[in-house]
Amino acid sequence: MHPLNRKLLRDLLRLRGQVFAVALVVASGVALLVMSLSTLTSLQATTDAYYERYSFAEVFAGVRRAPMRLTDRIARIPGVQTVETRISALTTVEIASMSEPVMAHLLSVPDDREPLLNRFALLTGRSPLADRDDEAVLHAPFAQAHGLVPGDSIRVLLNGTQRKVRVVGIALSPEFVYAIAPGGLMPDDRRYGIVWMGRETLAAAYDMQGAFNDVTLSLLRDVDPKPVITDLDDLLEDHGGSGAIARADQISNWFLMNEFDQLRTMATILPGIFLSVAAFLTNAILARIITVERREIALMKAFGYTDLQVGWHYTMLALAMTAVGVLLGWGAGAALGRYNTEIYTQFFRFPFLFYRPSGTEFALSAIVAFGAGLLGAIGAVRQVLRLVPAQAMRPPAPERFREVALPHAVVEALDSPTRIILRHIIRNPLRAGVTVVGVALSVAVLVMAMQWNDAIYLLVRNHFQQSQHQDMVVGFRGTRADSARHALLSLPGVLAVEPMRLVAADITNGRTRHRGGLTALPEDSRLQLIHDVRGWKVPVPTGGVVLGRLLAEKLDVKPGDTVEVEILERDHRRFELTVAGIHETWIAMPAYVSLAQLNRLLGDPPSFEYASLLVDAADEGPLYDALRALPGLATVTVKHNAIQTMFETIGETILIFSGFFVLFSSALAYGVVYNAARVALSERGRELATLRVLGFTRAEVSYILIGETALLVMIALPLGCLAGYGLVAIIVQAFETELFRLPFVIPPTAFGKAVLVIIIASAVSAAVVRRRLDRLDLISVLKTRE
């Protein structure tokens, strides 16, 4: 082996503490990149294969009742490849293990053939037989949540009639990768499920013989869905079409794609932070090594090694440190990627899963990491090239210091050790800056991670507690006359009833159209409020519409402007509404109108489809029984169950992710602080040993060594909180979607926790360096020149 290579290996071994610290930071960046990208590629590959194999549709539309003969006309829309019609209904099912009614989405499957689109993937059992009207296939998460297997029975409410149905199969579907109940925020597999039954059975129950109320399309290659949607809407309008949507807006797919976007954002921002800090650390270490080894460098040059050879030797050292990090990062990233992908499959349900990193993420992470390592090396190695052998053989000129740029009175008041600390920081502001920035970034990353939990908690609390004061929401098939309120009020335990309507609608301003809906509330609404997340209640407008902030921005309207509304039901009424107000909200893009006004605009008598109920908890059981007997009831949502499920699901995931980030940020802080202290020790070992000889105690000497780093950490902590604020702002912005926004709220506890973790990580690394102080050789100081 070449002596220089042998020196390289020995240097790596000698500097193992620092090599490890840099490697740890590099590894964190690489692991984050590999984890995010491999999760992304795996989920994407899985999704693509799933969609392809099970013919996931590209356009979806609901309609009140359309005759089958319309199918041909739909098929003739330019660009349409396949048309599949279905019968779809929301209903409730009875399950022995649940006291409350469970919401179900009924979907028909053809009796005599496989569905052309949105085929389910049978995990066990079979499809319903053509001649059996009491067989059903259940969505797997739902079946698993209730321990249902083929052979078990459930009771399904089919258009008001209870029917005992036998489970014959358990399946997953590309349409419900993320199975979320209408109006829900998270999958709740115990309270919402998909039930597939034979077409004839559902047609008979819902009066859909020779008709359909749901249609899905696949398109020819590279066809833009927009014109197809327009044509389809035109065809369905007379039959009560509720507005078609493209695959991009299909709720399950939307969540999936949104998750991919978030993973992509993660893969860009965070590894960047870690690897740029790693570049600075590499630079600091290398610069120090080169200063210490200037005589060796001069010697090598004097022996005839070229600048390039010597420079390369030190560059190799930087790359070797990076390589250790890359290898560690690959291992951790691959493991975390697999783990992460598996966590995702708890929310996103696939019949198969490819954890197949493409290799690109490994290559990419290595390129980025080595790039950062090289960048860090270049500045330091330039020193090597500048060294003239004869000059380098002489000891370096003494360091020049200036008076601390502080008022004289302040300097006077300081003791000497503190002056030493301050002058060192001021003398090398760039290096101090790197330490401050590195620690600050680790705080920032942690603030961001800690904020998630609180932000989502706040989001849920706001949604469920501030704006929803009811205990339960019941939904009916079709509208109910206002008098039905009294029937509800007479049910056991019901303390108050408040009617509500939700109608699908296109809201348009100029060329911008938003496909969404109107929420209609009574003007004196008390159970369901228009709550502005900034902390106040917005009154239900007597005339006009109150929009969510994001919707107002999308439509570019302000209070006083007018929007056009087209109701996507029945005769597609069109009318104009004045924007009465705008409120800030984190979930969806709501548009609130008064119930009386909506009924008037639709030409309906006072009526409602949904009702908020205030319920005496003691009577829940009898109430559920009474609700089951209520004709036309389609859905029951119990609020406290919804909240509990959300917290359980979110809590667990967030805990895992916060855990990752506590590890990564601690590694970052550890790496930065360790190196700062280690370089300081290397530079000042002699001074510190001198002080020990002069009678300074270990504690006093530690103060000088650790004090500088501690001071920098102190400066970094508030800056890190600020940077965390900025990072959260970026993330909130990046993750802003039509369905939800992360609240831009950072509770003090997030800062507190982040600061605490980083203080601990810094203290640990300082303690590791501090131990070296005990091994200072006091005697050699007396004899040797540096």
Partner: protein, 247 residues
């Protein structure tokens, strides 16, 4: 603390402050063991200036380190004011150096980030009854350079700052290891003058290690070492002023 040993008189007639009895120091074990000191007996009087001569490896620095509480002897005793240094733990030795010993090194070992005055203050801040930094600097003739950083001072000036730093705590023992080793003769003389002044004005017992036999003329007593033992010892009848030393 009136151990009879401390009451005896040294060769030069002053009261004994420090006594070393049968000091041995062995580095390593077995056949590869190095015997740095092989039974050294030494007394040091209050205010006495002793020059320690000897070639490299003769054991002078090892002796100085043990006297200064930087190293511990393998055998024998060092007694200062009746206290046995060998029985002190690390904290007590630190305390000993802090309160009673001043060190001057060959390479000055100033703190680069502190001015001359602050380098001295470094010690006065932790000492029990120190001189003011300015007074200490005046003794070594550096009053006007008090606010300069080490990088702005010549080698001789830096060494004089080091001396001021060593004596500012009014140490009972001033240990100088080759204080002129890195200096030219002209600057060396200035530094030796400073040591002499300090010895006189502060009254610290001073041990000065040197290779340069000529310097021995400024001492009260001269001890020559060879192979870890005292080879020769004599008292100067008259002390020669440093500027009159023939280098």
């Amino acid at each position: 603390m009136s151990d009879p040993a401390t009451q005896q008189q040294t060769h030069s007639g002053s009261q004994t402050i420090l006594q070393a009895i049968g000091l041995t120091k062995v580095y390593g074990e077995g056949p590869s063991a190095v015997h740095a000191l092989r039974g050294v007996d030494l007394t040091l009087g209050r205010g006495e200036l002793v020059v320690l001569l000897g070639p490299s490896g003769s054991g002078k620095s090892t002796l100085l380190n043990i006297l200064g509480g930087l190293d511990t002897a393998t055998g024998g005793q060092v007694i200062l004011d009746g206290i046995d240094l060998g029985k002190m733990d690390i904290a007590a030795l630190t305390r000993y150096r802090r309160d009673r010993v001043g060190f001057v090194f060959q390479f000055y070992n100033l703190i680069a980030s502190l001015t001359a005055e602050e380098n001295v203050a470094l010690v006065t801040e932790i000492a029990r009854d120190p001189l003011s930094p300015n007074d200490a600097l005046k003794i070594v003739g550096l009053g006007p350079r008090a606010h300069h950083f080490p990088a702005e001072l010549s080698g001789g000036e830096q060494q004089r700052v080091a001396i001021a730093r060593a004596i500012a705590k009014r140490p009972e023992l001033l240990l100088c290891d080759e204080p002129t080793g890195a200096l030219d003769s002209e600057t060396g003389v200035i530094v030796l003058e400073a040591i002499k002044t300090v010895n006189r004005e502060v009254g610290s017992s001073t041990v000065l290690i040197t290779h340069n036999a000529a310097i021995a003329d400024m001492a009260d007593r001269v001890i020559s070492m060879r192979d870890g033992q005292i080879a020769d010892e004599y008292t100067n009848k008259t002390r020669v002023a440093p500027r009159d030393i023939n280098w």
